[in-house]
């Protein structure tokens, strides 16, 4: 098999529309994702950020159809290359997994089978999707190892996961995910478990893969610094909802949602905080599934919250081209140290 031919369309590769996912907790149905919409174009890297428990991973898993038995999609649709995949049975979904979309996980330490040589694990993916003949597969594995920057691919392929470092293992995972040349790669915190230097290498690798193969990447992380490095467009999530979507430059220059502003302020760096000063944080924490407020979910933690925020839930609305935010009182200017200074610009959303 050669590269999947890229269809000459401008339609997004992945369209998620109005998706809601319910999780059953102690017999109660709780909404974990609430009316989430998202689109990813071909060759685009979309970053999803948010604190732990805001639904980032849930979103990735629902695209892959890997939601646990206690969760299910209750509303909305997911289309990959125009085909509806949210309602497919496992049998039908299997043809998409690995082949047209694949996923790399957070912990390369545990995502590889410790009893199997890594080359074999990459070859498995080719076997699963019946790609090439036996000798083709062996050659392709070596090629993939080179592609993800594992030098000495022949020796590497014969090693077991415990013989490799964390970064190398993550490279093997990426090789597995890319083996069948998927159009979409979902990366769920792929660098969180790695050292800072290794993290930078893996990010470079993902960028290189996008440039070379035109693979779209959905990059899930809680690290704003990582987002700044790789993403073209950023989706900020909070409590199971999308609160802001913007191209990466616009988001960092003009965050509109107070939550985004808070996230940006909490980035650590050598110059971010004066000596002796506390690192700015967002007070409180993400509401747990049962008690997401009925108004704006961020209102209880928001310094600029007003009565309307508590009573009515804001919808996503465009404040400037390609920049949407779900907030009644979006921030206007680049954030200053007084987070959430209320703005005069109002969203044109209802």
């Amino acid at each position: 098999m050669t590269l999947g031919t890229v269809r000459p369309t401008t339609a997004p590769l992945l369209e998620m529309d109005d998706l809601s996912v319910c999780v059953e907790i102690k017999g109660q149905q709780e909404l974990a994702l609430s009316r989430v919409s998202l689109s990813i174009n071909r060759g685009e890297i979309v970053g999803i950020v948010g604190e732990s428990g805001c639904g980032k991973t849930m979103m990735a898993l629902s695209i892959m159809g890997l939601l646990g038995e206690n969760s299910k999609i209750v509303r909305g649709s997911i289309r990959l290359e125009g085909e509806e995949i949210s309602s497919l049975a496992p049998r039908g979904l299997r043809r998409y997994r690995g082949r047209r979309m694949s996923m790399i996980f957070q912990e390369p330490m545990v995502a590889l089978n410790p009893l199997m040589r890594v080359g074999r694990q990459v070859k498995e993916v080719l076997t699963i999707h019946r790609i090439g003949s036996r000798s083709d597969r062996r050659r392709r594995v070596a090629e993939l190892f080179n592609q993800v920057g594992l030098s000495g691919s022949v020796i590497r392929a014969r090693q077991y996961p415990h013989e490799l470092s964390g970064g190398m293992r993550q490279r093997v995972m990426i090789a597995m995910a890319l083996a069948a040349e998927p159009a979409l790669l979902i990366a769920d915190e792929p660098t969180t478990a790695l050292d800072a230097t290794v993290q930078a290498q893996i990010l470079d690798l993902l960028l290189e893969i996008r440039d070379r193969l035109g693979t779209s990447v959905l990059f899930v992380t809680h690290d704003m610094g990582v987002i700044a490095e790789v993403a073209d467009r950023v989706v900020v999530m909070y409590a199971g909802q999308v609160v802001e979507v913007a191209p990466v430059n616009a988001l960092f220059a003009r965050p509109m949602h107070p939550y985004t502003g808070g996230l940006l302020q909490s980035i650590t760096g050598p110059l971010s905080v004066a000596k002796g000063q506390d690192l700015p944080t967002i007070p409180g924490r993400v509401p747990s599934l049962g008690d997401i407020p009925s108004g704006c979910p961020f209102a209880p933690r928001c310094l600029a919250a007003q009565d309307r925020c508590i009573e009515e839930r804001p919808e996503l609305g465009e404040v400037e081209p390609e920049h949407t935010v779900a907030c009644w009182f979006p921030l206007a200017a680049p954030v200053k140290s007084e987070a959430g200074g209320s703005s005069s610009i109002k969203s044109d959303a209802p």
Binding site: M64, L66, E69, R94, R95, Y96, R97, G98, R99, S102, M103, F105, E107, V110, A111, L112, N113, P114, L115, M116, E124, V125, I128, H129, M173, M176, A177, A179, A180
Partner: protein, 296 residues
Amino acid sequence: MTIAINQPWGPEVPLSRAKRAGKLRKLLRWWPLAILGIAAFAAAFPYLLAPLNPDLTHLNARLQGPGFRADGLKFLLGTDDLGRDVLSRVIWGVRVSVVVATTAVFAAGVFGGAMGIIAGVRKRILGPVIMRIADMVLSIPFFLLAILVVAALGPNLRNLVIVLALVRWPRYARVAYAQTLEASEREFVRAAVALGARQLRVVRRHILPEVLPALVVIATLEVGLMVIYEAALSFIGLGVQPPTPSWGSMLSTGQQFVASAWWIATFPGLALFLLVVAVNRLGDLIRDLLDPKGRI
């Protein structure tokens, strides 16, 4: 006294006496292998070891004690009530014990293991059904089930194996079930699913290798029990039928003569004891190797 430590950069220090003794002790831990080797040899070639025909009766030499000589024959361990050589019968009796125990363990292990894995993968309906059946089997008294099966099928070697496998498969099923559930939660299993692997492949490539060591450990510990169960069934007449020599039936005969001819029951009993101890000890050693953390 100074303590010599072997260091790679230091001068070569000869192995101390204590260290050599430690090595020897380590080697001696594997004594069960010697006994099992003899048992396996006796099971394979009893005619090479047994001095006499085990089924041949010597009516003029009935119930004679160990070391009895008659007609130029020597009965090293005495004779039974029909004048058969006890030593030869003990040697031939290994065959039944070894064959029944190993095939029963194999049958129960394969069936139980498969059931457990299926139950662990099909969590909704089939799994609970299998595991409840396993619970039910465990709650039926062993001898009751044995009598039922033998009554229905007739007493012979094959049915003996069937009975033992039928009684013991739930143990393997439970272990396989638990290991399968544990393995399915592993991240690499989820990764395999995310890359498009179908269930059968996931089981074969990722779950089976996790389950198998546990099953091997259980199996080695079960062999000794199977030897005893076989003897027990033969003892009450549900196992191997006469004149085939089996330790259980020899014990049963010897029991009638314990007061007058102690050797008839004593020697098969000793052989049974030795074999079971050796098997169990070996099972422990294998478990230490395969399951050093003692999870099973």
